[in-house]
């Protein structure tokens, strides 16, 4: 409770101080009311009727009004009200239909003053006239309202609402003769106290019972009503027809409404069921409460502002048998916890961003609204309370940031997925094709990987340089060409001074490459000078190229690094027997005599320097060590893992499929399955159904393979007899005709067959599409208006 600081309010000589506090009652409260001087509160309920003094630190019980050994039902209160003129005068509405007044000035223990037993059923509400001492109004379940003069024994007038039960009656604060009554059928009536025969005005305020109403303490025209329909409505009664000016939607039926003193637009509400909290709303911001008191553990039954002119102290009684004093400072403010922004990345790299307008307004000098979340506005005391709650414009701006193709967009993914060839051709061709695809999309690292895979896994002899040139020619040829010239220059020692320098110094290039990961090249004597130099030169060349390639550098190095990082693993024994094409070895041996020839002349022309670098170094090592392809399995495996960790599962799965058995055994089934499901999920996101299906078909995981065999059932009808066909094929067993005739060209459809589920007629996808452009009727002439979705 330390955080609940003491609050002091000065009210014209009369000072209210206090803190958030509570006391236990003996029984659930039904209603509470405060004395005029704000120092005492009366709590009434079925089994409780007590007056408490509100002291600074606590509630102190002053008086128990339930006296006698066997209290009569008259003590059982549905409502209680303390006269605002006379601090000795109270009235209660008893559950047995009696209206009782109490005089605290009586010397006897029993303070009961007068009994009015005129209502036939429970009295729901009693209300004193705000200025007239002796005038009391009651509203009952029996549908009548009665006005009592406390100097007389009986009621002076009876008002018949002629509709259902009365839930609330309230004298208008400003209009001497007027009171409002609310009814269970959703109506609100306005009465003139002098005319008991007929209401002045009636309107339907709510859907279902109107449980409560409250006149605005300052503005004479405003009446707030709350109903079972969870709404609080504010009506302007000045006009001929009551006009709804505000509507607050709460989360449960509204049991009580009370305007907050000194704050024109604030109103406190509590609920009849489900919700135990008390909310204070700014009616201009009807969706989210400006303050919330969450102390009660059961339904709050009575709320009252402690003082007529003090907006900071609220008293409440509850079914949980507690009486609380709430202080505004301790209120929780839901809007502070509310997120002012929304952000979402779309599939294609677009960003949707919604933010509170004040956050993104370009005028950054504008002072943020004073009710900032860290400084509750309620306690800037110097300000007039009504000003403090200056209406906060609360709206958000929504925008979508769209990426263009070059930057964050996922265009590369879609194009790659569509263009990659994963099966049906020799490995070398697949690799070359895919390398070309990657190249074309400026994904040089990926292209390089494909090229290396080809070199590792296929015999060099099978790749014709023409093929290579062809595939590379599609890409942006100028840059690689330029680079490869650079490369040649260096190799022949004709580069610039600095380049020469670098290519000659053994140690420096290593630094350049390996500074970031100095452990990488350790003992690799095979590493030729030009080999390690080329990446550096490549970087230079890159800068001259287009901007996007800079990004590529980011990828490039880790890759090179990755590859070399792996090299030490050579020392480990191979896990698997050499299973496939031993002929590759022979080829290697055949070709071994002239690796540089093929590397430089035939291939570098079309390769980036790095490619040729790796080509040289690898073929070099191939040449030297005569390594079988399986030697590279750990490297390739790590390469797959690398791509997966980089978020490029497309590359991982594509390589996995292309290499097939060559690498499959190196990776455990579960990981493969994970890759496949991830990639398939991605493809489906991009609605690349055909490719996703192809991947499923080509996958070697059993769990993946069966994906497209589950729950795929086609229900087809014969086009002639319109009967369902058996699953045996396209011949209808009734009319013995082929059912898959195209309705447009009358040929048997092989491949994609599309048909209308209404009339069973269909045909070639292309034909039907064309047909539907001109007519929406069935091409078979059956008169059906075909629907294709």
């Amino acid at each position: 409770m330390e955080k609940m600081a003491r609050v002091t309010t000065a009210l014209g000589g009369n000072t209210i101080t206090g803190r958030t506090m509570f006391c236990h009652l003996d029984a659930p409260a039904n209603a509470i009311s405060v004395c005029r001087d704000a120092a005492q509160v009366v709590v009434a309920g079925r089994n409780i009727f007590k007056i408490y003094a509100i002291e600074e630190e606590q509630f102190v019980e002053k008086l128990n009004l339930r006296v006698g050994r066997k209290p009569s039902l008259n003590f059982s209160c549905a409502d209680v009200v303390w006269h605002q003129m006379d601090e000795n005068l109270l009235a209660t509405a008893a559950t047995n239909g009696v209206v009782v007044t109490w005089n605290l000035g009586k010397p006897s223990r029993n303070k009961q003053d007068q009994l009015f037993t005129e209502h036939k059923r429970t009295v729901n509400k009693v209300c004193f006239h705000p200025t007239e001492v002796y005038m009391l109004l009651s509203g009952s379940q029996d549908g009548y309202m009665k006005c009592f003069d406390l100097r007389k024994k009986d009621s002076v007038s009876t008002f018949s609402g002629q509709s259902e039960s009365v839930r609330d009656v309230q004298f208008s604060i400003r209009d001497y003769f007027t009171f409002a009554a609310t009814f269970e059928n959703g109506n609100v009536q306005l009465w003139d106290i002098r005319r008991p025969d007929r209401y002045e005005r009636m309107f339907t305020a709510h859907n279902g019972p109107v449980f409560c109403c409250d006149w605005h303490p300052e503005d004479r025209g405003w009446l707030a009503t709350g109903g079972r329909d969870k709404m609080v409505k504010v009506w302007d009664m000045n006009t001929n027809r009551a006009k709804e000016i505000y509507c607050v939607q709460t989360i449960a039926s509204v049991a009580r409404v009370k305007w907050r003193p000194e704050c024109k637009h604030h109103i406190a509400t509590c609920s009849m069921m489900v919700d135990h909290n008390i909310y204070v709303w700014d009616v201009r911001r009807p969706f989210i409460p400006s303050a919330m008191f969450e102390e009660h553990k059961d339904v709050t039954t009575g709320i009252v502002w402690r003082h007529l002119h003090d907006p900071y102290f609220l008293l409440s009684g509850s079914k949980d048998s507690t009486l609380y004093q709430h202080i505004f400072k301790d209120a929780s403010q839901p809007i502070d916890r509310a997120n002012p922004e929304g952000l979402c990345y779309s599939l294609y790299g677009d960003l949707a961003f919604a933010a509170k307008e004040s956050l993104i307004s370009s005028d950054s000098n504008r002072k943020p609204y004073i009710g900032d979340r860290r400084h509750p506005i309620f306690f800037k005391r110097k300000l007039d309370p009504t000003e403090q709650f200056e209406y906060i414009s609360s709206s958000s701006a929504l925008s979508v940031f769209e990426t263009d193709v070059e930057s964050g967009s996922m265009d590369w993914f879609v194009r790659t997925a569509k263009q990659y060839v994963l099966a049906g051709r020799p490995l070398a061709e697949l690799c070359d094709h895919n390398a070309a695809v990657a190249k074309e999309l400026d994904r040089n690292q990926v292209a390089q990987t494909w090229t290396m895979l080809r070199i590792i896994y296929s015999s060099p002899g099978t790749v014709s340089s023409a093929n290579l040139n062809h595939s590379m020619g599609k890409g942006s040829a100028s840059l690689p060409l330029m680079n490869s010239f650079n490369l040649k220059d260096i190799q022949s020692g004709m580069g610039s001074e600095s380049r020469l320098d670098r290519s000659k110094g053994e140690s420096r290039p290593e630094n350049i490459l390996m500074d970031s990961s100095s452990t990488l090249i350790n003992n690799d004597e095979n590493e030729e000078t030009e080999g390690s130099d080329v990446p550096a030169d490549y970087l230079l060349g890159d800068v001259e190229g287009d901007e996007d390639e800079l990004y590529m550098m980011d990828h490039e190095n880790p890759h090179a690094e990755e590859q070399e990082y792996i090299l030490p693993q050579e020392a480990f024994p191979l896990r698997h027997e050499i299973v496939d094409n031993p002929s590759a070895l022979d080829h290697l041996q055949d070709k071994a005599d002239s690796p540089h020839v093929s590397g430089n002349e035939a291939e570098t022309v079309s390769l980036t320097p790095v490619e040729s670098f790796s080509l040289i170094s690898i073929s070099h090592s191939l040449y030297e060590n005569r390594l079988p392809p399986d030697f590279f399995s750990p490297i390739v495996r790590d390469m797959l893992l690398f791509y997966a960790e980089q978020g490029d599962v497309q590359m991982t799965v594509s390589v996995l499929i292309v290499l097939g058995d060559r690498i499959r055994k190196e990776i455990d089934e579960q990981t493969q399955e994970h890759w496949y499901t991830s990639y398939i999920d991605l493809l489906q996101r991009f609605q690349l159904w055909n490719i996703s299906n192809e991947v499923i078909k080509l996958s070697t995981c059993r769990a993946i393979n069966c994906l497209n065999q589950a729950s795929t059932t086609l229900h087809i009808n014969c086009t002639n007899c319109k009967r369902p066909m058996s699953n045996k094929g396209w011949i209808c067993d009734r009319c013995r005709q082929c059912a898959s005739m195209c309705a447009v060209c009358h040929h048997v459809v092989k491949g994609l067959f599309v048909w209308c589920q209404g009339c069973s007629h269909g045909g070639h996808l292309q034909h039907i599409m064309k047909w539907l452009e001109s007519s929406s009727h069935c091409p078979a002439g059956c008169g059906h208006l075909c629907e294709y979705t």
Binding site: I288, N339, Y345, S395, S396, L398, F401, G408
Partner: protein
């Protein structure tokens, strides 16, 4: 880099959440005005509001799409203590003509006794499940046993987190090696040093969710949390929006070591921490490959974060809420600062030429 397209959302109060659907063609927004709007992307890239309806009787905090395999389904959660599941009805020709679609409420989840602060559908491979979390610190996991019947949801798990919850995120990994996992963030702002991010993992043996980890270093209120799309990674990446942006990696330790206990142990590293927003960070969102993180904060900016090859996360872009890019932001992200001294001059020349090109 980005082209901002402003949309007149026409919500009458703050928008609290924006969510794209699985295919990125539809977008849902939710607001304090108690409504949800659905936006469809037209051929020319414009977003059209095709549905707007009142969903709750309180502020709607979050809206999220289910996997389209289950239909066009949304879930929303609200201050009114409920979460709701909505389905789009097709074939309403009258609405169709006006370009409007009709959404019906399939269920209301009323178990929470306080504001429901987040709702998320589980990854598809787990079936039709969703998780909610509420201000009283309870995470609830519901399942629709029959995916064709969206009105029947059974409460499968209730996890008590002890702290007021503000956000949840499912681990999206589809690998069998990763058991279902959910991260919960708390916006509890009382002055304590309890971990505000907790990670719960499903235990096959006990068939319950149990706390696997707590990120002890996060002690400030957390407003958003997001696992990166997994895409075949062996580890998990988690972004946390608190007073700054943080990125954690969670590497599951080998199963052999942990199989006895049942729960996976994780090696947790914080790989990035940025306070560039200079204020509360409200939202984090990953791109589809889990390589770029977007964050938004009280400064009204969206910042993009990307790792370079050394796993150094850098800012690669700043977007102002009104669409204007902030200058001088994207350069540093491209180069690795930790390159050795041997080639500093080289790098400088690179920088120089790069900057020169920028200006031109």
């Amino acid at each position: 880099m980005f082209v901002a397209r402003s949309i007149a959302a026409d919500h009458r109060d703050l928008i609290h959440d924006v969510s794209f659907d699985f295919h990125g063609r539809r977008m849902a927004t939710c607001s304090s005005d108690q409504s949800v709007k659905v936006w469809d992307k037209s051929e020319n890239g414009d977003w059209h509001c095709t549905a707007s309806w009142k969903t709750h009787s309180g502020s709607v905090w979050r809206v999220t799409w289910a996997h389209p395999e289950f239909g066009q389904v949304l879930a929303s959660c609200s201050f009114d203590r409920t979460a709701a599941v909505w389905e789009e009805i097709v074939g309403e020709s009258n609405d169709k003509l006006r370009g409007q679609s009709h959404w019906v409420k399939r269920t209301t989840l009323v178990d929470s006794r306080t504001s429901v602060t987040d709702v998320k559908f589980a990854p598809k491979h787990m079936g039709l499940m969703l998780a909610t979390c509420s201000a009283d610190g309870v995470v609830r996991i519901y399942e629709a046993p029959d995916v064709m019947n969206l009105s029947q949801w059974s409460l499968q798990h209730e996890i008590s987190c002890k702290l007021s919850c503000s956000c949840i995120s499912w681990n999206p990994s589809s690998s069998r090696a990763h058991s279902p996992m959910i991260a919960v963030g708390s916006d509890d702002n009382s002055p304590n040093i309890l971990a505000k991010v907790q990670i719960y993992e499903y235990n096959e043996n006990t068939r319950k969710y149990a706390k696997a980890e707590a990120l002890m270093t996060v002690t400030d209120p957390v407003h958003d949390i997001a696992f990166a799309p997994n895409l075949g990674r062996s580890f998990h990446i988690l972004a946390v929006a608190t007073k700054d942006v943080r990125i954690f990696t969670l590497k599951p330790l080998r199963k052999e070591l942990t199989s006895s206990g049942g729960l996976t142990k994780f090696e947790i590293h914080i790989v990035a921490q940025f306070d560039n927003h200079n204020s509360q960070v409200w939202r984090v969102s990953w791109n589809i490959t889990g390589t770029v993180l977007a964050s938004s904060g009280d400064d009204g900016c969206v910042r993009l974060w990307k790792a370079n090859y050394m796993d150094n996360w850098k800012c690669t872009g700043i977007l102002k809420g009104n669409g204007s890019p902030v200058n001088g932001s994207s350069q540093q992200g491209i180069f690795n600062a930790s390159l050795g001294s041997a080639n500093t001059s080289f790098q400088n020349s690179l920088n120089g030429s790069f900057a020169g090109r920028k200006q031109s």
